[in-house]
């Protein structure tokens, strides 16, 4: 049996297929916990993704789906003031992804920190390969004059020697975490 607000969501968003089956299979306490998320009016795709991540976390950790959906961190996001519904959905997704893929999160955080360092100290933005797959990084530079180029060349030289650049290559190559 579906709770009223879940039923309403399913009808309003014309939810069908596997998501509908999944929602219908939820226990009452799981539906109750989910209703707090439904209040953010996520799209069916977003809800499916949030639910998938939650189900996987519950299965991995051997806990109930209800306990994942009503974790303190998750409720804190739902109750946060001054943040709109879209932003809250993004935060929820980030939280669940981080919980589901802690190692990947550590890698991405570490890479972002080094990229930020390079931006700050060398003024250049180092781009990583898509999906972090491959061993080359790229730099986009633009110059308005030969003088600009000379200055950029000096900054690139500085970037090449910067420990964060080595750290980025080391992480991508699996030499460090």
């Amino acid at each position: 049996m579906m709770l009223g607000s879940l039923k309403q969501y399913v009808e309003e968003k014309h939810v069908g297929g596997s998501l509908r089956e999944r929602l219908e299979a939820l226990g009452v306490d799981e539906q109750e916990a989910l209703c707090a998320i439904l209040a953010l009016s996520p799209s069916a795709n977003t809800l499916q993704e949030l639910l998938r991540l939650s189900v996987e976390i519950a299965a991995r950790d051997g806990v109930s789906l209800h306990s994942v959906l009503s974790s303190e961190e998750l409720l804190a996001i739902l109750e946060r003031e001054g943040v709109n519904r879209k932003e809250k959905q993004k935060l929820l997704r980030a939280l669940l992804e981080e919980t589901r893929f802690p190692e990947m999160k550590k890698i991405r955080d570490s890479l972002s920190a080094h990229q930020a360092q390079l931006r700050k100290e060398c003024g250049l933005r180092l781009s990583l390969p898509e999906d972090l797959e491959g061993d080359s990084v790229s730099l986009e530079i633009s110059a308005r004059s030969p003088k600009d180029l000379e200055q950029l060349a000096a900054r690139i030289k500085q970037l090449a020697k910067h420990p964060s650049t080595k750290a980025v290559f080391d992480i991508l190559g699996g030499h460090s975490s």
Partner: protein, 389 residues
């Protein structure tokens, strides 16, 4: 030789189906006689896989696949046998040739790709006309006498799992010993090597017996019905004693809490008993699979943690670990192996040239310890004392 290991009848088929065309083939006769009283034996005249999606009613892929694990169909294979390993574009290929003496496996590993590859035709199969397979290999090898053919039988089937019933290795091993430019690789998670042991004077170093190995906890939890790591190593020890070289495939490396310690232990357990110089090659590769396998794993192994690891769906629709993590795992296991013996031929399976650059410093080069694996010319295998080609 008598086998004093596991109760093999636990994974023997409950149903043996034999196609009419195979009835007179020696392999079919042997299996029918050995399975009499154990399996329900029937003759099959209809074509197709009896558990195929369109013939087996409305049961799910997962249910049919599980049922298929206990049904063995004996039939003749039509079409060509010998194929170059399909590899993957953009990946460094190890030049393995593949023949399939059958397909499907009664063992049940959570991550087994056959669950998606064979989900539409899940009945286990053994081909009864393997004489034709051997003739095709001989014709191909003699047409290119300067090329070395490393031929594996363990792509769609475990090379040893049926050997107590089929005795196929008694034909395969002497055949490969007779043809100068072929080398047989048997690949298994089983420990049944009794037939191989009777061939100690006949294999002439032309058969490498290899085992897929893993961390102990992966083997215990996610490789149902297979021999334990300890049993596989014991079997490897026996064939080494009978003069064979052996191979090990760390496949798939799985990421979990404590993976480093467990993979280190596996390396140590192997090499505390197997002399490194008797190892023809070791491969390493990390967990990766097509996205549809995820659903099969979830349906068939609800208690397994493997589907909930750090692997993610990449843009190419393959599920794998993010590169920095994947490379870290490959580095780690390779370093552990190289610490045992610097010259150990360790290669990476299904990895890009970028992985080779990062992890080994470059793609394999001619004349290196990996020549036998990667060179098309190859070098002839090391022949044991007293064995002659």
């Amino acid at each position: 030789m008598t086998y004093d290991g596991r109760d093999r009848s636990a994974f023997w088929p409950e149903k043996l189906l034999v196609r009419e065309e195979s009835l007179a083939d020696p392999l079919a006769k042997r299996l029918m006689s050995k399975l009499e009283g154990h399996a329900e034996i029937s003759i099959l005249s209809e074509k197709g896989d009896p558990l195929a999606a369109d013939t087996a009613g409305d049961s799910s892929d997962a249910e049919r696949f599980t049922k298929g694990k206990r049904t063995l169909l004996l039939q003749r294979h039509s079409g060509s046998w010998l194929k170059a390993c399909p590899g993957t574009s953009g990946h460094v290929c190890c030049n393995l040739w593949i023949v399939n003496p059958g397909e499907g496996c009664p063992f049940d590993c959570t991550y087994c790709y056959l669950q998606s590859y064979l989900k539409r035709n899940p009945t286990l199969k053994l081909y009864t006309n393997i004489q034709e397979m051997l003739s095709e290999i001989e014709t191909r090898a003699s047409a290119e006498p300067n090329r070395m053919f490393r031929v594996g039988t363990g792509e769609l089937i475990d090379s040893l799992v049926w050997d107590d019933l089929s005795e196929q290795t008694l034909e395969l091993v002497p055949f490969f010993a007779r043809i100068p430019n072929v080398l047989l690789e048997l690949k298994s998670k089983d420990d049944y090597v009794e037939n191989l042991l009777t061939l100690r004077n006949e294999h002439l170093g032309k058969t490498v017996v290899s085992w897929s190995v893993n961390a102990k906890s992966v083997t215990e939890k996610d490789e149902r019905s297979t021999a334990s790591l300890e049993q596989r190593i014991a079997a490897a020890e026996k064939v080494v004693e009978a003069g064979y070289r052996v191979g090990f495939h760390f496949d798939p490396l799985v990421h979990f809490e404590g993976w480093e310690d467990e993979y280190r232990d596996t390396v140590q357990s192997i090499f505390s008993r197997i002399p490194a110089e008797r190892v023809a090659w070791v491969s390493i590769s990390t967990l990766r699979y097509r996205s549809d396998l995820q659903d099969m794993m979830l349906a068939r192994f609800p208690e397994s943690k493997i589907p909930f690891g750090e692997q993610f769906l990449a843009k190419d629709r393959k599920i794998r670990y993010v590169q920095p993590l994947r490379f870290r795992m490959l580095h780690f296991v390779r370093d552990e192996l190289m610490a045992i013996r610097k010259e150990l031929p360790v290669y990476m399976c299904m990895e890009s040239s970028s992985a080779w650059r990062q992890i080994t410093g470059g793609a394999p080069v001619a004349g290196s310890e990996l020549s036998e694996v990667f060179s098309r010319k190859g070098k002839l295998p090391i022949i044991e004392e007293g064995h002659h080609l």
